[in-house]
């Protein structure tokens, strides 16, 4: 087998893995958009906030310590405990649920029936707020996140592929774990949406707010639930990406990686987010591999968007989006 083809296969596989990571972020957008029509720009910042909170709780950092010290002249930094990862994740989830309630109660409850762009803007305001809040609560330094996810080359795959192609493929263990997590997450979400009472209510709300309201579904409850779910997805994305690069401000920029995925898969489809992620991941990696060297590289950022754009020209609602029906 020619060498280039083997390399391309390796790139392809890694593209699939990268796509899963993008899809993890995109899922959060889809959940909220589906249930409330909000294009939630703050999803990336929520991932950062969740990861910061997780690390802070694990390391027993005192929230707002910088502010408290500045106001009262005290010298406190740590509670002095070190919590196990699982407990910290649960506690972080409690924080994210509280955040979901606050967001719904103080922001979006007041903006029901507004135009999508207004809701989008409100989510940007929320992003600003959370950015400042995350920094002021937990500090701006880079934090190491270690919840026990493995990292580094997977030796088994390396050896097996070496036996077949005479060239060992590189697959990151973290990516494999992330794929597993994403699969669980999607299956869990689908089961939740299809087979539980709350899930059905959620879908009813997504379908038609007023009809749902008229059969006695509490919109506020559903929205808090959806934001909590999105918070959970953000936490998972934050853990995976934070393990890769440390928890820091730039984590919030992963949202930009999720947008083309979202556009390609459709804003309203959970499987769309996964499939879109895979297409974008493979597409941008293969393009960088094949064409990149000829035009100077670093093409991934824009190529993802161009790829999505090309798809959209043929299917304006994305691959799995609801068909746009326009009536006069």
């Amino acid at each position: 087998m020619p060498e280039q083809l083997v390399f391309a296969m390796e790139v392809f596989l890694n593209g699939l893995m990268a796509g899963v990571l993008y899809a993890l972020v995109a899922l959060g957008f889809v959940l909220i958009y589906k249930a409330s029509g909000i294009f939630n720009y703050a999803q990336g910042v929520m991932a950062l906030f969740a990861a910061l909170t997780l690390v802070g709780i694990m390391d027993g950092q005192v929230p707002f310590s910088h502010l408290i010290n500045a106001v009262f002249g005290t010298e406190i930094h740590h509670f002095g405990w070190h919590l196990p990862a699982l407990l910290a994740i649960v506690l972080t989830m409690v924080v994210m649920i509280a955040l979901a309630w606050l967001v719904n109660h103080f922001v979006f409850r007041h903006l029901v029936n507004q135009e999508p762009i207004i809701l989008f803007m409100a989510s940007i305001g929320l992003a600003y707020f959370l950015e400042g809040m995350g920094d002021i609560m937990w500090g701006a330094d880079i934090k190491k996140l270690d919840v026990g996810l493995p990292q580094g080359i997977n030796s088994a795959i390396d050896e097996i592929t070496f036996g077949i192609f005479d060239y060992g493929f590189f697959i990151d263990n973290l990516d494999i774990v992330a794929t597993g997590i994403a699969a669980l997450l999607v299956v869990g979400l689908v089961i939740f949406a299809q087979y539980t009472k709350q899930g059905r209510a959620m879908r009813a709300v997504a379908d038609d707010h007023q009809a749902a309201l008229s059969v006695g579904i509490s919109l506020n409850y559903i929205w808090v639930m959806v934001w909590s779910l999105a918070g959970f997805v953000a936490l998972v994305a934050g853990i995976v990406w934070g393990t890769k690069s440390g928890v820091q401000f730039s984590l919030s920029l992963i949202a930009l990686k999720a947008l083309p995925v979202l556009m390609l898969g459709g804003f309203t489809s959970i499987p769309g987010a996964i499939v879109g992620g895979l297409i974008i991941g493979v597409g941008e990696k293969l393009f960088e591999f094949a064409i990149g060297p000829m035009i100077g590289g670093a093409t991934e950022n824009w190529f993802a968007y161009v790829l999505a754009l090309i798809f959209l020209v043929f299917r304006p609602q994305g691959l799995f989006g609801e068909k746009i029906i326009e009536r006069v």
Partner: protein, 427 residues
Amino acid sequence: MRKTLMTAALGAMMAAGPALADLVVVDTSYRTGPYAANGIPFSDGYQDYFTLINERDGGVGGEKIKVIECETGYNTEKGVECYEATKGEGALLYQPLSTGITYQLIPKATSDGISLHTMGYGRTSAKNGAVFKNVFNYPANYWDGASHAITHILNENGGDISGRKIALVYHNSAYGKEPIRTLEELSKKHGFELMLLPVDHPGQEQKSQWLQIRREKPDNVIMWGWGVMNQVAIQEAVNIRFPMDQFIGIWWSGSENDVKSAGAKANGYKALTFHNLGSDYPLYDDMAKYVVEAGKAAGAGDQVGSVLYNRGMYAAMLAVEAMRTAQEIAGTSAINAAQMRDGMEALEITEAKMAGLGLPGFGPEFKVSCENHGGDGMGAVSQWNAEKGEFELITDYYQSDQEVINALVAEDSASYAAENGIEPSCN
């Protein structure tokens, strides 16, 4: 920070009164935004040294130093706002701490007669003081850095690197592209093969680049990274089991922040530096006594001795020495911006001077002149020791390839002079 906000507010009101006799230095820091983790230790070190001089010696030549901190968030527009807001306070010196802001300020500061010290960043050809009157970039610049990396590889390989393959992984921006020209020249000279791998901002996803490195197996990797790109690159290098001691980062890719998240496996990663590391210096005893324990530290005091803290402190040390030189030349302790510029241009750092300050061997010896605003291009290589959790110097200071670099500096500064109608002169 033991000052409470109330006392700080009171202090600000009192300080708002006329205090023009002070020596004013502006610290355009970034304690927020994507690069905050790097901005905080630098700014802490920079301010703490001035605080130390004020507290221990009562200032420079009897004049207190007043540091005005202005937050830029690494944003060029905010940097300009900071400059305009503070230049009226009699600022003597700016340390912009961002290449973007530096480029804004070069023409502005030159026209206002205020000096810029861009230590290890900014416009490399500002080394030519005949063109860039008010810009100083001693003791080393990016092109020196590129040469340092290659020289180090040369030394490791017995002086022959022809046929070797060296990859440059760089931030796809003006900053990251700085070393390319130099490396191309050096590759002609030494016969190594150069492989360029740009990483787009912010650099969270570098699988393509590192897969390519794994496929094409370069012998060495040099990195010009910044922010999250550093952590991810080092992690990916660990992932593909690239030998860490063949991986060299520029000084902005060589702080504890960059290696910590990759854990113990980053052990052996190398980074360039132009100042010494660690806190094993007599000066740090004074620092602890007069600044940190007295509750006057600029930050939380937890950064003392980190790479970037040392760098900030080194920058402040050079500024204070330039002030002393300026006071000697001007014959007055209350110097103005023009006298400060002259002081910087006459600055000479010797081993005796550094030892006298309690910082023996902290940086290279160099002498600034009008023709040379950039020092002698001395640098060293440090290596990450994961067990101890610190970078260690593994070489002495050595000089970059002046022949190659001076030609490039002359060329670039000449084109700047031509573009902006500057007549290079040294009077």
